[in-house]
Amino acid sequence: MTELQTTPAAAPAAAGPAPAGRVKRRSLTRETFTGWLFVLPFTVLLVAFLLLPMAYAFKISLYRSTLVEGEVFAFFDNYRQAIDDPLVREGVARVLVFGLIQTPVMIGIALLAALLIDAATSRFSRFFRLAAFVPYAVPVVIGTLMWGFLYSDSIGPFSALGVNFVAADTVLASLGNIVTWQWAGYNMIVLYAALQGVPKEIYESARIDGAGEVQIALRIKTPMISSALILATLFTIMGTLQFFTEPLILQPLNPGAITQHYTPNVYAYQQAFSFQQYNYSAAISFLLGAVVFVGSYIFLFATRKRSALR
């Protein structure tokens, strides 16, 4: 982000004597025109499908639809209602619990896998890297369908265990497993890439000092990639707060356990498309989006120094 300022600063230095300056200026207007032409399609899309929807969601979240008067300005009533709504609170509490347990488990598995492929250079470890990453290539919908079949007590391989994977008290863990399966390999690759960036001499000197491979992994490699670990954790938490597809797909397996308000996003979706409560739904979405958005920046800012993020 800091490199943004370097280009304009370099420009005046390049301008030499007068004739060269004139050429420069002429090419600058041409560049201005081309520059805007090149970013125009992107800018139009940014406005139409990001800024406009955001502004529109905020606007309608301030209104309320009534039978008698139609749309009336309600100020922050929808937000007040959302914050007080026990169903919203339940969903928020659930995704928080989910995130607090699933995130460390998954990042832990990803870290272990990354450390393993970093240390072992056999043919099998290359195969392992591929196998762990493949679930990421599967659409979330289909990954969830696959696990839905595996969880089934009539056609799944675990039916002999006698565990109901979609009961009220097990379904959250079952959903956690799906997310872990799908994203652990992705995070493994991210962490592995970070490990590749650590200079190998550090390990050599530790080995000379008598450190074992496990000690090197825990005491040197892991701290060295803390910035990548932090980023991976952040993105996982952001994903967790928006938890939607997996519970929606598995809902028919046990509608009593995976309720219409199971997560804030599922609730917002149901409010909009089952009950036509667009205003209220927009307030919930906007609130959730704002929490995710502000949360990511606070998180990134707070960990900036420690993780040497630029």
């Binding site: 600058l28 560049e31 090149f38 899309l45 990001l50 955001m54 595996l150 939607f244 979405s285």
Partner: protein, 281 residues
Amino acid sequence: MSLKRGSVAAHVVMALMVVYFLLPFWWLLVASTKSNDSLFDTGSLWFSGFHLTENLKLLFNQENGIYLTWLRNSAFYAVVSGVGATAIAALAGYAFAKLRFPGRNGLFALLLGLIMVPATALVLPTYLLMSQVNLVDTIWAVILPSLLNPFGVYLLRVYVYDSIPDEMLEAARIDGAGEFRIFRSVALPAMRPALVTVLLFSMVASWNNFFLPLVMLSDDRLYPLTVGLRTWYMSAIMGNGGAATFNVIVTGALMAILPLILAFLMLQRYWRGGLTIGAVK
């Protein structure tokens, strides 16, 4: 590795994890070769009879062959959104990195600021806006929002900034080449590895997309695979009459991930490339 014992332990752990990650694929492969009855009454991790061709026939004939329509739709959405998003991101990323124009830094800062806006929060308002211009339930409702790829622009901007020297562009300018010509014949070839990565990621994102088409489309002949398979799955679970049976859904799921797994194996380099540019930079 000098420590034999440690290496053996490491390989045991990796082997266990491989079983975990590949088990669902194995199950799906086995299940797609079974008849619907043997899905229920034979051991689910080993073959029993071979009914794959039969299942494929059932799959492609279910509801007058709508699966093929979904497959075509998914491919069409992925190619159009992927190519479109990549072209738009290439133009913008190049301009942000190499062209000087007023408003550039402001616009780029805006992009960086908005990169974290969660996509799920935008689906509902986008739907409402689309319905005001009568685009809901058309292919445009799925394609147009997918053309926006701020992260792709960011990635290409970083790549161009680092890998194309200004002197190269300056030399082309002195030779009298127009700006678009320079972009096309100097910059684009140099951007190829990053372009492939962005193309791959935007195509896969579109192929995997679920929330947006779920909300935007109600005509099932416009559905992509993800939304279509979900409706089959729901009907099958709820036991609606005439619904696709489990063997059909399982085979449909297998067919839907095969192209992705092939693309994944052939283009591994670019997958990893995309992730590492995104994470480390």
